[in-house]
């Protein structure tokens, strides 16, 4: 599969996700526009549009950045991750509307080309009153356009997952630029001070979520040192049917699945985008990655034909109802007889 085209898997869940995004964006824009008009009766239509697109894009960006850590903290929120890219592209479109409106409103009236005007109106980087906050906004848009343009699965496959993921971590660069943009914009009264307060709340919220999620990950990763031949993965009965327990051994996460009376262990890392296989479940005899639905057979670690992905497998055995895993990985796709629970 990795060398063949695989169509985007449209399904009712993704369509529902997109409908929710559309509804949230329209109501967000409406509420922000109404709020601006009520709080500032003298606001022109341009100002209302500028502020409502800014506020909506800012809230959307916080939503996008919250999804990752929220899913690590509570797996019931995993469906949020399922079409996060569409949320990101929508955020870019709203932010781009804000950028275009701002350029037309503030830079299109003079002799200079609007882009020249944007980049040269102020170059006083040391002054809070004249800091060129619009350049920070343009920089953020520049990062976001690259991400939006490479968000299709074609680019994920062409660039390979690690490169794609690194590129898309650029969202944090964009976020930093937007923080500067909004903070200095508010200082210069281009944006209402409330925007700066909202941003402050957003920064604290995101920092807390990311710290909590990192703490949780570190706790789960209390690793068994290398050299231990069999790792105790706890009682087999404690693993729900069709689900996994994740153990960490020699620095590698292993997903130990129980399905009926059988137990198999595979690498926890999905070949698609490093999704956590152990947080998925077995459907129709295959482990389904909770992120994007890639499938692997639990006993071989291989995707069902015609797909060709495979993850490493691990030997398992059951002693007195407890599952033990040999932490030495076998080649991806190696068949291992599942350990069996006494009926």
């Amino acid at each position: 599969m990795s060398h063949r085209y695989r169509a985007v898997g449209w399904n009712p869940q993704k369509l529902a996700y997109d409908r929710t995004i559309a509804l949230a964006v329209t109501s967000g824009l409406g509420i922000a526009a109404a709020g601006t008009a009520v709080l500032n009766p003298a606001a022109t239509l341009e100002t209302i549009l500028l502020r409502s697109t800014a506020l909506t894009a800012l809230v959307l960006l916080h939503a996008v950045l919250s999804i990752g850590p929220l899913c690590r903290l509570d797996r019931r929120l995993l469906p949020l991750l399922y079409n996060r890219r569409h949320l990101g592209v929508t955020m870019f479109l709203v932010a781009a509307a804000h950028g275009v409106l701002a350029i037309v409103q503030f830079h299109a009236g003079g002799d200079a080309h609007p882009l020249v005007s944007l980049l040269t109106t102020s170059r006083d980087w040391s002054s809070a009153e004249r800091f060129p906050f619009q350049i920070a906004g343009a920089l953020a848009l520049g990062v976001l356009v690259v991400m939006a343009a490479t968000s299709h699965d074609f680019w994920l496959r062409t660039l390979t997952a690690p490169v794609w993921k690194t590129l898309h971590m650029g969202v944090y660069v964009a976020y930093a630029a937007i923080v500067v943009h909004v903070a200095f914009g508010a200082l210069q009264s281009e944006a209402p001070p409330a925007a700066a307060w909202l941003l402050g709340v957003g920064i604290v919220w995101l920092a807390t979520l990311h710290t909590l999620a990192a703490h949780r990950e570190a706790r789960n990763d209390r690793s068994v040192p290398a050299g231990v031949s069999w790792v105790d993965a706890g009682p087999a009965a404690a693993i729900p049917d069709g689900r996994a327990r994740i153990v960490c051994a020699a620095g590698e996460r292993i997903a130990v699945f129980r399905y009926g009376t059988q137990v198999s262990a595979v690498s926890n890392v999905c070949q698609h985008q490093n999704g956590p296989l152990g947080e998925g479940k077995i459907v129709g005899g295959c482990i389904v990655c909770p992120w994007h639905g890639f499938e692997y057979r639990p006993d071989t670690g291989a995707s069902p034909p015609p797909f060709t992905e495979a993850v490493p497998t691990f030997r398992t055995r059951i002693v007195d109802g407890r599952v033990f895993v040999d932490p030495r990985p076998l080649s991806p796709g190696t068949w291992i007889e599942p350990a069996r629970l006494e009926p």
């Binding site: 449209w10 080309h113 609007p114 020249v116 074609f154």
Partner: protein, 33 residues
């Protein structure tokens, strides 16, 4: 329902790349006297 959507999705994804020549044109235009 799904197939036209998939086609639309592919065109929408491609449409982003129209922004690149547009931006390049805008920047080139801004350099002109």
């Amino acid at each position: 329902m799904i197939r036209p959507l998939r086609r639309l999705h592919r065109w929408a994804a491609l449409g982003f790349w129209l922004l690149v020549p547009l931006l390049a044109g805008a920047v080139a235009g801004s350099a002109a006297p």
